[in-house]
């Protein structure tokens, strides 16, 4: 072979350069909305961050100061109760889909879960409204948590299924060959092996439902007070953003921006922590 045969033509090199630059430019275009949103939300919201925001109730119109402490606490409990219901059920469904994937029932369950995750959240809100709000007779935090749990369930189930499927089958065989019953192999060996992946999936799903607004409008509604009971309406960050951002009072608009930046921080921090946690696990292997 002639050494000249290995030389790459200048045209070929220019083409290569051009395409790489094009790809970098497109990647930057994709980043613009994210950076713009973050910049805008924090520019508007951060100046109104203070201790009062987290500890005080909203002040009546015309008075300055006040905070959205009730919405912060309300969102926390709405998501907590949703997690207590939705996460264990989601994980169990995910285990069923992964470990008993050959049964006919698993096929039906998988299709249902996929359909459920495609249902718009406002429809699930109406469902929670007719299932819980109407029978009880008034709006409640319980109904809001129920709606969030229904949104959470398919996300957790799918993540769990996918993480469990990454655990090689010879790990399960090794457990069975020790004379451990299959259900214990699944719960005490396979699930332990997959725990960091499942934790990541659950944390990201929780951060997502914390920002859901539509289903809360007809369930938990809103409140000017601190949440006291599951059976009373409760304030939440997304619903407060919705109502305060549109209000004609500057003070309330500021609170809405502060709430928006708190919510964005929550998602951002969860994402970053989970990225960091999964990477350090990868390196130790």
């Amino acid at each position: 072979m002639n050494p000249a045969d290995f030389q790459i033509s200048i045209a070929r090199r220019l083409k290569n350069r051009f395409v790489i630059l094009l790809l970098i430019a497109l990647a930057c275009v994709a980043l613009i909305p994210l950076i713009h949103v973050l910049h805008y939300v924090y520019a508007q919201g951060l100046p109104h961050w203070n201790l009062n925001f987290f500890t005080e109730l909203p002040k009546p119109v015309g008075e300055s100061g006040g905070g959205l402490g009730n919405a912060v606490v309300g969102s926390f409990f709405l998501v907590l109760v949703a997690a207590i219901v939705g996460v264990p059920v989601g994980i169990l469904v995910g285990i069923f889909l992964s470990e008993y994937s050959r049964s006919a029932l698993a096929g039906w369950v998988r299709t249902s879960i996929e359909l459920l995750s495609g249902v718009p959240s406002i429809v699930l809100g109406i469902f929670a409204y007719s299932a819980i709000v109407v029978p009880i007779g008034h709006f409640s935090m319980l109904a809001g948590s129920f709606a969030l749990a229904v949104i959470l369930l398919p996300v957790v189930a799918k993540t769990t299924e996918e993480v469990l499927k990454l655990i090689p089958s010879h790990i399960r065989e090794a457990g069975l060959a020790l004379g451990i019953p299959r259900w214990k192999v699944t719960l005490r060996i396979v699930l332990i092996a997959a725990r960091s992946g499942i934790t990541t999936g659950v944390a990201l799903a929780l951060a997502r439902v914390a920002g859901e607004t539509a289903p809360l409008l007809f369930t938990a509604l809103s409140s000017q007070h601190w949440p006291r009971s599951l059976l009373e309406p409760a304030a939440s960050l997304p619903v407060q953003i919705y109502s305060f951002a549109l209000a004609p009072f500057e003070e309330w608009n500021h609170l809405a921006w502060a709430a928006a930046s708190v919510l964005v921080s929550l998602t951002l921090v969860t994402n970053l922590i989970m990225k960091w946690a999964t990477r350090s696990r990868g390196e130790s292997r």
């Binding site: 010879h170 065989e173 060959a177 020790l178 451990i180 060996i189 092996a193």
Partner: protein
């Protein structure tokens, strides 16, 4: 010597494929039997029939008889899960359980089958039995997956030994290891057979010749020849065995 494991007219199937054909073979107590043969000859499937792991594969089934210490392990009254506690197994790829420490890996079988007594002592004995104790005694809390490949395989051997099985099955235990780790595991096999009966599937005929007392040669699902290793590797009775061990096929 009396046999501890005895297969009688054993047949194994994957759906319609007849993988093991009418194999009868007796393994003397506290000896090492090597199963050799080309890929797909049924030696691994045969091994997996000896601890009822074959039936874990969907649509797989077994016919015939396997006796352990004289009683059938395919008795309808027996739970396959309980049978596996007296027959350990080591796999081709080292597979310590992820997310568990070295110590937890060794005792997990005991812990999850309900015998939690003296776990520290059992773990130490098992790790010593697997010739791993000196290397890991100061880092028992480290993840099992942090060890090297050869150490991981000895950890898997310790995990099986912790159940104190009279019989240990090994499915190509060194084929994923480097030569030095392979030599260590081979040494270990030779010392283990003083206390445990070993049945080892291997692709490596030199290994079979080095470590085994008896060797079984499988071809197309059939047991072609089964004899003392010193005889089988020097004066095989069957022409096919001779062709295989001299490297003419497989």
């Amino acid at each position: 010597m009396k046999p501890i494991v005895e297969a009688k007219n054993l047949n194994a199937y994957f759906e319609n494929f007849h993988a093991v054909k009418n194999v009868s073979l007796a393994v003397p107590e506290k000896s090492l039997v090597a199963l050799i043969g080309p890929s797909g000859c049924g030696k691994s499937t045969f091994l997996r029939c000896l601890n009822r792991m074959h039936e874990e594969i969907p649509k797989a089934r077994v016919e015939g008889e396997v006796l352990l210490g004289g009683s059938s392990i395919y008795d309808r009254k027996l739970d396959p899960v309980a049978v596996r506690r007296s027959i350990g197994m080591v796999f081709q790829k080292p597979n310590p359980f992820p997310g568990m420490s070295i110590f937890e890996n060794v005792v997990v079988g005991l812990k999850l089958t309900g015998s939690r007594d003296r776990m520290d002592q059992v773990a130490e004995e098992a790790l010593k039995g697997a010739a791993l104790w000196e290397e890991v005694k100061d880092k028992l809390k480290k993840p099992g997956t942090s060890l090297s490949g050869g150490q991981q395989q000895r950890l898997c051997i310790a995990r099986a030994l912790a159940m104190k099985p009279p019989v240990l099955l090994m499915d190509e235990p060194t084929s994923a290891l480097d030569p030095i780790s392979t030599a260590k595991v081979e040494e270990l096999m030779i010392s283990l057979k003083k206390s445990v009966t070993l049945i080892v599937v291997t692709h490596n005929m030199q290994q079979a010749a080095r470590v085994s007392d008896r060797t079984a040669f499988f071809l197309m699902g059939e047991l072609v020849e089964y004899d003392e290793s010193s005889t089988l590797f020097t004066v095989p009775k069957d022409a096919k065995t001779e062709q295989y061990i001299t490297g003419r096929f497989g």
